[in-house]
């Protein structure tokens, strides 16, 4: 009987209760992110450290993307544009009032939340293909917009631009406790960890249950008294917030940003990274995000034309669509099996 109940969730191999406690899952997140980040911080510097910091910012974009796709089945092809919005707002706020770094990050997150919800408004009326089209057009529109207005660099006025010479551009300062590249990377890793927990908490509490029911059947969800518009908007807000935080962290990494940094193609690559990593589990977003930056960085390091990266991701997408678990999902399943097997042996 138990085997039927568990069919399709965790394949059982031993006579044990399929118990992986929430505490253990939380501990696993901390250990995996901590160990990976620790190894990166200890072994890499300069070029690679900068790229891994960017990769973590991309992880945040992937995390939001996976939230929308994994929980609600909504395809968002504008996640990198939302990172751009977060970066823009945080730079704008920074150059106005020079607040503490946490306030800058929050401002980026809140800015992208607002835009994310506004962008999500069409999604409340449509789903499926049309949402993918809308978000792709939004990413395209953002690319055009940002190419014209660029990012604030401490100049006067709302757009904050300086003269053509560009000599008086002002960099956004990093927090005092994270001014070096390594400490800033660890700081970004910590924020990434917090964002992963933010999403996990949502997934395992009331919003997560509401999303699951909405995805299953909207009419059923409405009949069960779930406020569909509210919870969908919440998902967009959350994914926007996380992306915006990623944008603020990216702005902190470089100090100033270029208008060419947020092309539509990256939003597409983020979506592909999410599919490759897997959208059901947090590990998928983490690995997918790292992969989206690691591949181009490796190509540059190997002196291969970076455009080959697009070919790799494009080809990978055609195969990733056939495996809904993704890399992260496969690894998680493997870890769970091993753990349960181990527990089973200990119990007998």
């Amino acid at each position: 009987m138990r085997e039927i109940a568990n069919a399709g969730v965790i394949p059982m191999t031993g006579p044990v209760e399929p118990e992986i406690s929430p505490t253990l899952r939380a501990a696993a997140i901390v250990v995996v992110v901590g160990v990976v980040s620790g190894i990166i911080a200890l072994t890499s510097g300069g070029y690679w450290l900068s790229n891994f910091t960017q990769a973590y910012c991309m992880t945040l974009a992937v995390l939001g993307c996976a939230l929308l796709y994994g929980q609600l089945g909504l395809v968002s092809l504008c996640q990198w544009a939302l990172v751009g919005v977060g970066a823009w707002v945080s730079l704008r706020v920074y150059h106005y009032i020079h607040p503490p770094f946490f306030v800058t990050i929050l401002s980026g997150g809140i800015g992208a939340t607002v835009i994310g919800v506004i962008w999500g408004l069409p999604a409340l009326r449509m789903r499926g293909l049309y949402l993918a089209l809308v978000t792709l057009m939004l990413a395209g529109a953002f690319q055009v917009l940002v190419a014209v207005i660029s990012f604030p660099v401490g100049g006067p006025g709302f757009l904050g631009q300086v003269g053509a010479s560009g000599n008086d551009r002002i960099n956004m300062a990093r927090p005092i406790f994270a001014s070096s590249d390594t400490s800033y990377f660890l700081f970004v890793a910590l924020i990434t960890l917090l964002c992963i927990f933010l999403v996990e908490i949502h997934r395992r509490s009331k919003p997560g249950r509401a999303w699951a029911l909405i995805r299953k059947n909207e009419q059923m969800a409405a009949a069960a008294g779930i406020r569909i518009v509210f919870y969908k908007a919440w998902a967009f807000a959350l994914s926007g917030f996380i992306a915006g935080v990623g944008g603020a962290l990216l702005a902190g990494l470089f100090g100033q940003l270029d208008q060419t940094a947020f092309p539509t193609t990256t939003s597409i690559v983020i979506f592909i990274g999410m599919l490759l990593g897997g959208f059901e589990v947090w590990l998928g977003a983490f690995l997918g995000g790292i992969l989206t930056r690691f591949v181009p960085a490796l190509l540059i390091d190997l002196n291969v034309n970076t455009n080959a990266g697009f070919m790799i991701f494009g080809a990978a997408l055609l195969f990733a669509l056939r495996d809904p678990l993704g890399l992260g999902g496969q690894l998680t399943l493997l870890a769970e099996r091993l753990y349960l097997k181990f527990q089973g042996k200990r119990a007998s």
């Binding site: 395809v75 293909l129 089209l133 034309n305 070919m311």
Partner: protein
């Protein structure tokens, strides 16, 4: 302000958008796949034509080769990959074509480079007419003519041939069509081939009127989709008109200095407003 000169200058781009939008809608109606790789097909066609011309190949052969290769890629994808995804929902099928678009975009950008100022020159550039005080090259009028003829031809194909009947049947209901004996894979493949043909021609024209750049050509698909959205992805005349309108929006925005720089986002914003105000309606696949 006299806007007529801007209207005239938008004809060429509008015709390319119309051609692209019609090409997208034919495939979407018949097979339910929205092809994000449409612009990339066009890019391959334009770059190949340009390359062959520089190798000294006669012009007509270079264009024909470009269009043939774009059509061939579309045929292969429609024959090899598309059937494997036929049972998945429309989003997944569309997303898969994004993968193809990236592969082609990456390949073009790798081989031909990004940001190089290049244009595909056509002999029709030499002739010109003056409309509302604007000198229009022959290419723009050719673009309009080609778009009209091809859209009209497809309309006739749908109305009067067996293949067209099959396509219309698939647009109504794939499962029932298959059950009564419509050869789904064959019709799908024909739709893909037509899509590639439209893309190949649109790419060569855009490579002339705009510029020869992998990004610009690949992302031709976004305004084309915007144009197709005006037709709710289902009506061919609507797609044609939508394309012309999208071209006009871009051209008219040039008339307003504050907005001129944002002009390429014009069709997207218009399509977004259309979706928010009018809605996706009950076109093909709207219920899925």
């Amino acid at each position: 302000m006299n806007l007529l000169p801007f209207v005239a200058s938008g004809i060429g781009l509008g015709a390319i958008y119309a051609l692209s939008s019609v090409g997208l809608v034919i495939l979407y109606r018949a097979s339910g796949t929205l092809n994000f790789a449409f612009g990339a097909f066009g890019g391959v066609s334009a770059f190949l034509a340009w390359q062959l011309k520089h190798e000294g190949v006669p012009l007509a052969i270079s264009w024909a080769a470009g269009i043939a290769v774009a059509t061939g890629i579309a045929y292969c994808y429609g024959r090899v990959f598309a059937p494997r995804l036929a049972h998945r929902d429309r989003v997944v099928r569309a997303i898969a074509t994004l993968g193809l678009a990236l592969v082609l975009f990456g390949g073009m950008a790798w081989y031909w480079g990004v940001g190089v100022a290049r244009r595909l020159e056509l002999p029709t550039d030499l002739s010109a007419v003056t409309l509302f005080g604007v000198r229009l090259t022959g290419t723009r009028l050719v673009a309009l003519g080609v778009a009209l003829v091809m859209a009209g031809g497809v309309g006739l194909l749908l109305s009067y041939t067996r293949i067209g009947l099959g396509m219309r049947a698939l647009a109504s209901d794939r499962h029932i069509s298959a059950a009564i004996g419509v050869r789904v894979t064959q019709i799908d493949t024909i739709a893909w081939t037509l899509n590639g043909l439209f893309a190949g021609i649109a790419g060569i024209l855009l490579g002339n009127i705009n510029r020869l750049d992998p990004g610009a050509l690949t992302f031709l698909v976004i305004p084309a989709i915007a144009a197709a959205i005006f037709a709710r992805l289902s009506s061919l005349p609507g797609a044609f008109i939508g394309g012309m309108v999208a071209g006009q929006i871009e051209a008219l925005l040039i008339a307003f200095p504050d907005l001129a720089n944002f002009r390429s986002a014009g069709p997207y914003v218009a399509a977004l407003l259309f979706l928010m105000i009018v809605g996706a309606g009950h076109g093909v696949g709207a219920r899925e």
